[in-house]
């Protein structure tokens, strides 16, 4: 708890940039946990709203987003978020390996991922 408040006050004084580099936690519903940068988590519209300090949601205080999906599905979501946040900033001339990302989604879970992606606005 102390660590949390400490972190809070520290980040309250921090700049926008250092906020972007903060770690946030994404939990699945079966006990798996993923730590990512805030910038990565914000590729998801729903999560960006959850973590927004002006939004008034509890997740903004705890910096933990709970995804109501199995671990394996959550992991795919996180993978996509990393992929997207990295390639968002790349220049117009660079090739984006979309096909590779697509191949990394196994068909066995694709429907669950589809629904989760739709819910999380990514």
């Amino acid at each position: 708890m102390d660590v949390d408040t400490e972190m809070q006050s520290a980040t309250a004084q921090g700049t926008e940039e250092s906020k972007e580099n903060e770690w946030v936690r994404i939990n699945s519903n079966d006990g798996f946990s993923y730590l990512v940068r805030r910038k990565v988590a914000q590729t998801s519209g729903t999560m960006a709203n959850m973590l927004d300090p002006n939004g008034g949601y509890a997740e903004a205080q705890t910096k933990i987003c709970t995804v109501d999906e199995r671990g394996i599905v959550t992991e795919k979501l996180v993978e996509y978020m990393c992929f997207k946040s990295h390639y968002q900033t790349v220049g117009p001339k660079e090739d984006i390996p979309v096909q590779e990302m697509q191949e990394r989604i196994p068909p066995e879970i694709v429907l669950e991922v589809l629904l989760a992606a739709d819910y999380h606005e990514m």
Binding site: V98, P107, E108
Partner: protein, 650 residues
């Protein structure tokens, strides 16, 4: 001398605009002195002595004197001729202020030698115009100095970017180049072949296409004098430096082309890939099939291939929220694959035609409810056959069909005696005759009736008759946009309805405040759950009060969008009585402001105790309520739509 604070006025962009004014000025020119009303710009230019002739003259002087360096527009005159003081104005230093003459300068008067002492203030502004040099004391510069400066210019130009205003004159881009009249000299050349006296040596010479304009104007130079002044008419224009193609120079904002596909899109592509391999997709039943259908409909990605994901012979219910991409044959396969459907809903089924609809008729024997949005290709005989083939039909809800005519209506009523739900919304052929047919269904039949948005309103009397025939059993009624309906429809027609829960009377412009109020005060029907009375600008506080008194305790959805003048007290009444409200639309009710919203959300203070308030409110639409600010109180779980100051975030 008028100081020009508004420097950008002199930019080429303005001149580009002014160019449009030029032709009329020129044609009107010298014959008469009639001056019509002018814009501020033309007034200003006229006052300052800038006329089309001067501009064109400068342009004409520029042209023959171009070398690969001097890409600058008329404002920069870096030619090496010494034809006269007004033409050569090399800058004193490359880095110090570029005292422009012409468009970049404050030097508005048509002077040819007056140095401008007070130009330091324009330093920064002059900096923008890199290519527009003009010293105050040009006459004092020697040729050597000129050459030196020119070398500096070259260097500067080599690395600096061009001032955009200069470019505008030079390029051939049809969007931004000068009009054609500017390229030729201000005074039109005498016809080729005629005789002219040289402006300098007074000798007579024949005008050719190479004849140069004299500098200073007016006049034309004979070939000899032209050559002497350094302008060689025959010299081939130096190969122009390779310029960016006009297409590139135009500032077009490119949208990011290689957009990252969303995860949803990627998943849908994968689904399409694996569509044949059902086992690999896992057990779909476990997931919410409807949710998947909605996710796919959101971006219109339902195609004939991935629609197969939803087909199953055991399906009894099928809903497609966007069947735009389903072709006629795809719809046929839909029927083949789901023969046991009892309920089918297809939104945006524009490709449904007679051929595929035939299968609907023959191969869906268990169908009890059909809901179609946009089946405009299905013809009248098909509708009739459909009715005949489904005597057990309970729900017939179609939206948007110009071909569904009276005969179809008759067939429907004749064969489907058990019809409970009927929607004929936006039907082109809707008329009073239809209402007669519907009336034939008799009392105790219909529970859901939606006849809204006809192309032509039905009459008051016909509607009243219909109500007397079928109104008794209705729980849902929508007659929006039948603009011929009046208060008497309410008082005489709706009085037959005793079980209504949901009522739609939007867009009925003949309803009056008093009429509606009286109706609700005396209505025998129990409280409504849903009321849509939107777009009736005549209705005000009285009507609202009566409505809230009648149905306030049960109302969950209320739409009074467009009730412009409803008073604040009436609005607050919503909060006092409407405890169950979940969705509220008060768009364009001008008296809604932050305090009213507060009263709705938190209740009002009655003797120190907060009473009332809409505790269950989930959706509040305040489109057009400009007194609702961003400081409007919000509540967790409430979605607020339409606050004017809200900016779209992404």
């Amino acid at each position: 001398m008028r100081s020009l604070k508004t420097r950008p006025f002199m930019d080429a962009s303005i001149l580009g605009r002014d160019r449009i004014l030029q032709p009329t000025v020129m044609s009107r020119s010298r014959q008469n002195n009639i001056r019509g009303p002018t814009s501020a710009l033309t007034e200003f230019l006229r006052e300052s002595g800038i006329t089309p002739t001067t501009i064109a003259r400068r342009a004409a002087q520029q042209q023959p004197q171009q070398d690969e360096q001097a890409q600058a527009g008329p404002s920069t005159e870096t030619q090496t001729n010494d034809a006269g003081p007004s033409s050569s104005r090399p800058s004193r230093t490359a880095s110090r202020n570029r005292r422009a003459s012409g468009y970049g300068s404050d030097n508005l008067d048509e002077d040819d030698g007056e140095p401008e002492p007070e130009q330091d203030g324009d330093d920064e502004k002059a900096e923008e115009l890199e290519e527009s040099p003009a010293p105050a004391k040009k006459r004092k510069l020697t040729k050597a100095a000129e050459a030196k400066l020119k070398a500096q210019e070259k260097k500067k130009k080599g690395k600096g970017k061009k001032g955009s205003d200069d470019e505008d004159y030079e390029d051939d881009d049809p969007y931004t180049s000068l009009s054609k009249s500017m390229w030729s000299s201000g005074s039109s050349k005498p016809p080729v072949g005629s005789f002219e006296n040289c402006a300098r040596c007074e000798k007579q010479f024949t005008v050719t296409k190479y004849t140069m304009a004299a500098n200073p104007p007016p006049g034309w130079l004979c070939h000899v004098c032209a050559k002497a002044s350094g302008q060689d008419p025959f010299k081939k224009p130096a190969a122009p430096r390779k310029r960016k193609a006009p297409g590139d120079k135009r500032e077009v904002i490119h949208f990011v082309e290689n957009r990252l596909p969303s995860l949803v899109n990627m998943c849908i592509k994968i689904v399409t890939q694996y569509i044949d391999d059902v086992e690999s997709l896992g057990d779909i039943g476990a997931l919410n099939v409807e949710a998947i259908a909605k996710a796919m409909a959101k971006n219109r990605s339902l195609t004939p291939e991935n629609a197969r994901l939803f087909y199953n012979t055991t399906n009894t219910k099928l809903i497609f929220y966007d069947a735009t991409n389903l072709t006629s044959s795809a719809l046929e396969s839909l029927v083949y694959m789901n023969p046991n459907l009892t309920s089918l809903r297809l939104d945006f089924c524009g490709q449904l035609d007679d051929k595929s609809f035939k299968l609907f008729i023959t191969s869906l024997p268990a169908l009890q409810r059909i809901e179609l949005l946009g089946p405009f290709l299905v013809r009248s005989p098909s509708w009739k056959a459909f009715a005949r083939a489904h005597p057990n039909l309970e729900g017939f809800l179609i939206n948007q069909s110009p071909r569904f005519d009276l005969e179809c209506m008759h067939a429907l009523v004749t064969y489907c005696r058990g019809l409970k739900a009927l929607r004929l919304r936006e039907i082109g052929k809707m008329s009073d005759a239809f209402l007669e047919e519907i009336g034939d269904l008799g009392p105790e039949a219909l529970t859901y009736l939606d006849l809204s948005c006809p192309s032509e309103s039905c009459s008051d009397t016909a509607m009243i008759t219909l109500m007397s025939e079928v109104g008794g059993s209705l729980t849902h009624l929508d007659v929006s946009k039948h603009d011929l309906l009046t208060d008497s429809f309410l008082s005489e027609g709706l009085q037959h309805c005793t079980k209504l829960e949901s009522l739609g009377i939007a867009h009925l412009l003949d309803l009056t405040d008093k009429g509606v109020a009286d109706f609700f005060r005396s209505w025998q029907n129990p409280a409504l759950v849903e009321l849509d009375a939107s777009r009736n600008p005549e209705l005000k506080g009285d009507a609202l009060e009566a409505i809230m008194k009648h149905s306030g305790l049960r109302l969950e959805k209320l739409n009074i969008n467009g009730w412009e003048n409803v008073e604040e007290n009436g609005l607050r009444d919503i909060g006092r009585k409407g405890k169950e409200l979940v969705k509220l639309d008060v768009g364009f009710c001008r008296n809604v402001d932050d305090f009213v919203v507060k009263a709705w959300l938190e209740g009002e203070d009655v003797k120190g105790v907060k009473k009332g308030g809409c505790r269950n409110l989930k959706e509040l639409k305040v489109w057009g309520c400009n007194r609702v600010t961003a400081q409007c109180p919000k509540k967790h779980g409430l979605t607020l739509y339409g606050v004017e100051s809200h900016v779209i975030r992404r």
